[in-house]
């Protein structure tokens, strides 16, 4: 009963705050700092090289070949941030933003073959601005939602090498509404732009596991995204654009006991984005560097004259991202852990706290400092023995 109440509580939180508010979607494709799973993100990573039974990130699907268990991970990160924007005469505005995701790792009954899937709602923004301009009252409402669903299969070619291939489906919509109460004609004008996004891509992953070291790579070629656009319900000409390619490399070292360190390099070619048929986005290539560690802290305690040992993972990490936004810089420190509130060893909650800052030039200087809190529920279960 307690479990049901707990899960219900989590679901309510997720539903209540599924939308966040950000200015960045007006000039970019949103915020891309929370991708992977809570455990990876708490190490400043996306989880490219985390090749162990705890990993639920499927950003590199090749990592799924390790697990004998079916793993599901449902998580959400809530960003609270302060905005310093030169367009505002006021100082800071406090806003928040959420990023839900859902990962599945699914080993197949066939030896060395596994499947994985994820749903990641990278952009869920809803921003409303009210201001007066030239004596007219203007109300702007920007909503954008872009999601990715990935299905992938991975195969362990031999004990050290896994290869994967996956399909990616991008979908979403956007609505930008401008309401102008003009005294000029004593009337209200309303202009609504609507976009529907849809595109299909592929993704390749590899992972080389050499005892303590793991090397990984993921490549997602650019893929075409179709846009159906309308203005005030009038369908306009649609021109597809290429969603940029992604090249990610990772390395991890584990002592196979209680210590793990991992680093990542990610590059996305956003400077090639040709989106001028719709909106003017000035973007740069993304370079992201992440480094994180995980340490299994063991606490011994006595209870009722019995010695007990509690293992608590402590995770921390740092990432730095250059580009993506115009003249963009972003960094973040993160801290995380896991707890197992239930008696089962196969269920845990991962928690994260990240503090960071990003700055860029949108149409003028824009700066955010943010604190992210996140939680995910991870469940594992073994349906069959694949060894």
């Amino acid at each position: 009963m307690k479990k049901i109440i707990l899960i219900l509580f989590l679901v309510i939180i997720s539903l209540n705050f599924i939308n966040g508010e950000t200015f960045l979607t007006q000039y970019t494709f949103g915020r891309l700092n929370n991708i992977g799973d809570i455990r990876s993100i708490s190490m400043g990573l996306r989880g490219l090289s985390l090749y162990d039974s705890q990993n639920s990130s499927t950003i590199n699907p090749a990592t799924s070949t390790y697990s004998d268990d079916i793993i599901i991970s449902l998580g959400e990160i809530i960003s609270n941030y302060n905005i310093n924007y030169d367009k505002f005469s006021e100082d800071f505005y406090k806003r928040n933003f959420t990023t839900p995701y859902f990962n599945i790792v699914f080993p197949s009954p066939l030896k060395n073959l596994s499947f994985s899937a994820y749903f990641n709602s990278e952009i869920n923004s809803k921003l409303q601005l009210k201001f007066e301009q030239n004596g007219e009252k203007i109300n702007e409402l920007f909503q954008k939602n872009i999601n990715k669903i990935q299905f992938a299969t991975a195969y362990k070619v031999f004990d050290q090498l896994s290869l994967s291939i996956g399909g990616l489906y991008l979908f979403g919509n956007e609505e930008n509404k401008y309401i102008i109460n003009t005294e000029y004609t004593n009337s209200t004008e309303e202009d609504i732009w609507k976009y529907k996004y849809e595109g299909y891509g592929i993704k390749f992953g590899t992972l080389l596991n050499l005892d303590n070291f793991t090397f990984s790579g993921m490549f997602r070629p650019s893929f075409q995204v179709d846009i159906n656009r309308s203005f005030d319900d009038i369908t306009l000409e649609s021109k597809p654009f290429d969603y940029p390619q992604n090249l990610s490399l990772g390395i991890a070292y584990s002592n196979n006991d209680n210590f793990l360190i991992s680093g990542e390099y990610i590059n996305e070619n956003w400077s090639n984005l040709d989106y001028t048929s719709y909106q003017t986005f000035t973007m740069e290539d993304l370079y992201r560097y992440g480094l994180g560690i995980e340490y299994l802290l063991e606490i011994k305690k006595k209870k009722n004259y019995l010695k007990k040992k509690i293992s608590i993972p402590i995770r921390t990490g740092f990432y730095y991202q250059k580009g993506y936004y115009n003249e963009g810089n972003e960094y973040g420190f993160s801290l995380g852990t896991s707890i197992k509130p239930f008696k089962s060893e196969k269920a845990r909650f991962d928690l994260i706290l990240t503090i960071g800052k990003k700055d860029m030039i949108l149409d003028t200087n824009y700066e955010e400092t943010f604190i992210n809190f996140g939680i995910s529920f991870n469940g594992r279960d073994k349906w069959y023995n694949t060894k």
């Binding site: 939180i13 806003r95 601005l129 007066e132 301009q133 004609t185 203005f231 009038i234 996140g374």
Partner: protein, 387 residues
């Protein structure tokens, strides 16, 4: 302990996720994407304009015209049915209230029609299809209507005519003479646009009546009124359905214009804040008389015309839709129609419109106006926010 930590994290996440949402109200903020309204801009109307005419039933008019308009002789025909009248109460009068009077000389005639006619076929040329009038012999017992027959109704501030028709009624009572009604027509035919109009049986008030006096039980004089049977006016008909490069308004004439906003570089998405069709060369006095309007009523919004899209501009298949009532205004000293709302439908028709102007009271009158020059179309627009 673990549950306590977990619960603490949940509460923290919940509290932070309840951060400020909703509209951000900004002061001293400008969105360069929201443009100011334009200055007054000329839009080219095509030189390919014309006038279309539709036929109409004359009997449904709420006015009765007699005189000359567009070089057409107009006559009023009234049918009387005096069966309810006690013939001992002579004399009997026909009382008709005057609505508008532009006659140079108040010099009319009235006579009894001796030939029968068909309402569905009657014109000023034919009483039945294929049977022409002979206005010299088909009308007898002619009476002259002069200023002596014109009276002033102080209570209603209106003039009316009163003519003794006792002999007509007595002759019809003698069943040897067929009652084909009476005709009223002008004697002076030298001036064009010289007419008088009376309220008809279809008007809301001041309807034509047969009146006579009786004595009540207290030996006081009482005025008795009897409704007439029917009334209408007839005039020359025009065979042409279209008049190229000529503009007439009223009496079944619709001036038709064509505008392509692309030719004036007005994007289909832009908002038209104000749009005026300005008529710089027309006779304002004739305008008032023709359409029963007063210049002083412009500001009250009491002067209105219809504007409608011409769905098919083929004269053989002339169809209009999208009817909008628009206010007449004085714009920069000229008579103009405010067609702002109508122009908004251009977005549904590829930024192009064929449209016609119609009087507020359509068709069944001889309200008619010649428009000497093509009107000018001026708009104030706003470029819509993009994206």
């Amino acid at each position: 302990m673990k549950k306590l930590i977990f619960s603490f994290f949940l509460v923290v996440i919940f509290i932070f996720s309840c951060g400020k949402k909703g509209p951000i109200e900004l002061s001293n903020y400008d969105d360069s994407n929201v443009k100011d309204a334009s200055s007054l801009t000329d839009i080219s109307l095509s030189d390919d304009f014309y006038t279309h005419r539709q036929k109409y039933e004359p009997s449904s008019s709420d006015e009765l015209w007699t005189g000359y308009s567009k070089n057409r002789n107009i006559k009023t025909i009234v049918e009387l049915s005096p069966v309810e009248i006690d013939l001992s109460n002579q004399p009997f009068y026909l009382k008709m209230y005057i609505k508008r009077d532009t006659l140079t000389f108040f010099d009319l005639s009235m006579g009894r029609i001796i030939e029968d006619w068909e309402l569905s076929e009657i014109t000023i040329d034919e009483r039945k299809e294929g049977e022409p009038w002979n206005w010299d012999t088909d009308v007898v017992d002619i009476k002259t209507i002069t200023d002596a027959n014109k009276y002033y109704d102080e209570d209603n501030d209106k003039y009316y005519i009163k003519i003794d028709i006792t002999d007509y009624i007595l002759s019809w009572d003698n069943e040897e003479i067929e009652n084909n009604g009476i005709v009223i027509y002008p004697n002076n035919t030298s001036n064009d646009y010289d007419f008088i109009s009376f309220y008809s049986k279809n008007a809301d008030s001041f309807k034509p009546k047969i009146i006579y006096e009786t004595l009540n039980t207290e030996n006081e004089t009482e005025i008795n009124e009897v409704d007439i049977y029917s009334d209408f006016h007839i005039a020359d008909t025009f065979s042409n359905n279209t008049y190229n490069n000529q503009l007439f308004l009223g009496d079944g004439y619709y001036p038709i214009f064509n505008v392509d906003f692309d030719l004036s570089n007005i994007d289909i998405k832009w908002e038209i804040l104000e749009g005026y069709l300005i008529f710089k060369n027309l006779d304002s006095s004739r305008l008032e008389n023709s359409f029963d309007i007063n210049l002083s009523d412009y500001e009250n919004g009491d002067v209105q015309f219809y504007i409608a899209r011409v769905k098919s501009d083929n004269p053989e298949d002339f169809i209009m839709d999208n009817f909008y009532l628009c206010d007449a205004e004085i714009f920069e000293g000229y008579f103009a129609l405010n067609i702002t709302e109508f122009l908004k439908i251009r977005s549904q028709y590829d930024n192009k419109l064929n449209f016609g102007i119609l009087p507020f009271r359509n068709l069944s009158k001889f309200r008619f106006l010649e428009i000497y020059d093509k009107p000018e179309l001026k708009i104030i627009y706003r470029e819509n926010p993009e994206g």
